[in-house]
């Protein structure tokens, strides 16, 4: 475990697409940045609606224990998932919640309220892109993986013909977070 270890958790309900976001992030770190990474999902037997999460670990050394122990970034798109998966966070972790769906959150953590789903609907047009917007937000807030690598990985993982829209969603995430940091610090 190196000092540069980074751990992220995206939590939502089944069907919101956070698995892909985790996959893109871990893949970008491993393939394009040459670091070690893992992606480890948790979901329920329900196809849609069950609490889900995806954990990503990025490190300079091989990752032995494949689960998170000290999370740097936590995203939640649903209250149930927030409640279920808000553990293993570092005290200085950054948390992002969608205020339309997560009403009660722990002020212990530095928490940004970003209406990710609404933003996606209004500016990208497809709600399925929510997790990509969230990924952009995370990258802007944490700089966990250089943007160019995330973009490459996203284009590789995205279904054919959706590349441009995916990049639009990612950029929306960057811009939203950048604005927020300027306003809120």
């Amino acid at each position: 475990m190196s000092a540069n270890r980074f751990e992220a958790r995206f939590s939502a309900v089944g069907g919101q697409g956070v698995m892909l976001a985790g996959d893109v992030l871990a893949y970008a770190a491993q393939k394009y940045q040459g670091r070690y990474s893992i992606q480890s999902p948790t979901y329920t037997a329900q196809v849609r609606g069950g609490p889900t999460k995806v954990d990503v670990i990025i490190d300079d050394e091989p990752i032995i224990y494949p689960k998170t122990t000290a999370i740097n970034f936590f995203l939640s798109l649903a209250q149930g998932s927030y409640n279920a998966f808000l553990y293993d966070l570092r005290d200085d972790a950054i948390v992002v919640v969608d205020p339309h769906l997560v009403h009660k959150w722990d002020p212990k953590y530095r928490t940004y309220e970003i209406p990710v789903i609404e933003l996606t609907k209004n500016h990208v047009g497809k709600v399925i892109m929510t997790s990509v917007v969230a990924l952009g937000i995370m990258i802007e807030l944490t700089h966990a993986v250089p943007k160019e690598f995330v973009e490459k990985a996203l284009l590789e993982k995205a279904p054919k013909g959706t590349g441009e829209l995916n990049l639009k969603a990612l950029n929306l995430g960057y811009a939203t977070a950048a604005e927020l940091v300027t306003v809120q610090g």
Binding site: D23, A26, Y27, Q30, K31, G34, Y36, S37, I38, Q39, S40, P41, T42, Y43, T44, A45, P62, I63, I64, Y65, P66, K67, T69
Partner: protein, 387 residues
């Protein structure tokens, strides 16, 4: 160490289940029959896509029992075959696994373990089928079951499962767990020069002189392929060298003993394991699969505090590393055995140690992994109190 990479540029990022599928193809598997079940479904998904590309056949069967039957049939027809499942499906396959043992048909069964009994926790971790892998089908029979912990090792163990199936004419088992099956990590795909491929021995005699269970060629009789002119009767009943049923007590006893002996005479070399920081250890952690990864972190943590502890990680669960445990029981003061069940493999450690000594479990069955901290605490306790 399996998880290390020497050349990061050649690494692919695969899910554990994907690793199994790709390794099966590398091992020469060209037939898959299955009934998808979480957390093993991706194996079927990848095989469905990949097998046609390499001239193989994928069949989704009506259920797990039929899938097991299909891979036995296709193996008799000359293919290297496998199926993948999880707890409930593993239970259903047991009848036909016994059939493959008795008829001596090579095939591979992958079980990505999840919580049970019954449908249990479909999407969550368990390691509670390890005894079922050994004794799930009725009657005496040998078992080879591998339980790798890192993706590269999963690849190599999958190939070994095919090799052992072919070499010993038995159904072999690959035991993963939900964490490993669903975990994506970088893997440097082993080059074919790094492993061997074993193909079943075919008869060297003409059809009129062939008997499918002819032990004059050794404990593993050469195996003819169906439809190549060799007479080959297959039954789940006890049989003589012709393959036709017999109740002759002497023949039945001899044949059953041969079927056990053909594997168990190689038990020691089959029982692979990895030793980590064991040199001067006074406490040994014994673990396998994804739990062993947390155990390794716990060992490092305990070492930092000056506790002399090491990890013995089983790569083969069956045959069990009896001799290694016996030897270690004379080196260490205690064993700590973390496993995601309520104490199964610990019974084997107790048996193989042949010594009255502290052997302490760390167990969970809630569907989540055992955190390294929990294993660390137990190590500390045992090192201090001796229990």
């Amino acid at each position: 160490m399996s998880s290390g990479h020497s050349d990061k540029s050649e690494i692919v990022f695969w899910q554990g289940n994907e690793v199994v599928a790709e390794a099966a193809i590398a091992a020469g598997c060209r037939f898959y029959a299955g009934y998808p079940i979480t957390p093993s479904s991706e194996i079927a998904a990848v095989m469905a896509e990949r097998l046609p590309e390499v001239g193989g056949t994928f069949i989704q069967m009506e259920d797990e029992i039929a899938a097991m039957g299909a891979i036995i049939g296709a193996s008799l027809a000359g293919k290297k075959t496998f199926t993948a499942t999880s707890g409930p499906g593993f239970s259903l396959k047991m009848e036909n696994i016994g059939y493959a043992c008795m008829a001596e048909v090579p095939c591979v069964v992958v079980n990505v373990m999840r919580g049970g009994p019954s449908t249990g926790l479909p999407t969550a971790l368990a390691q509670a089928d390890v005894m079922q892998a050994r004794w799930g089908t009725h009657g005496d029979h040998p078992t080879i079951a591998l339980a790798p912990a890192y993706h590269r090792e999963i690849y190599l163990c999958t190939i070994k499962c095919f090799n052992y199936a072919e070499k010993y004419r038995i159904p072999t088992m690959l035991l993963l767990d939900e964490v490993l099956g669903h975990l994506s990590e970088g893997i440097q795909v082993p080059d074919p020069s790094e492993y061997e491929i074993f193909d079943r021995v075919k008869p060297s005699v003409p059809p009129e002189k062939y008997f499918p269970y002819d032990s004059s060629f050794g404990d593993v009789p050469p195996m003819a392929t169906y439809f190549e002119g060799y007479r080959f009767h297959v039954t789940g009943l006890n049989h003589n060298r012709t393959g036709f049923p017999t109740t002759d007590p002497e023949i039945c006893q001899q044949e059953e003993m041969r079927m056990i002996r053909k594997v168990m005479k190689d038990a020691e070399q089959l029982a692979e394991y990895e030793e980590y920081r064991m040199e001067d250890a006074e406490v040994a952690v014994f673990s396998f699969g994804s739990t062993a990864r947390g155990a390794r972190v716990a060992v490092d943590e305990a070492r930092k505090q000056g506790i002399k502890v090491g990890l013995l990680r089983a790569i083969t669960l069956w045959p069990f590393p009896d001799r290694k445990i016996y030897e270690l029981a004379r080196q260490v003061k205690a064993f700590v055995v973390p496993e995601v069940n309520l104490g199964q493999i610990i019974l084997e450690v107790e048996r193989a140690s042949h010594r009255d000594m502290p052997i302490v479990g760390v167990n969970r069955v809630g569907g989540v992994p055992i955190p390294p901290g929990e294993i660390f605490n137990k190590i500390k306790e045992v090192a201090r109190d001796g229990r």
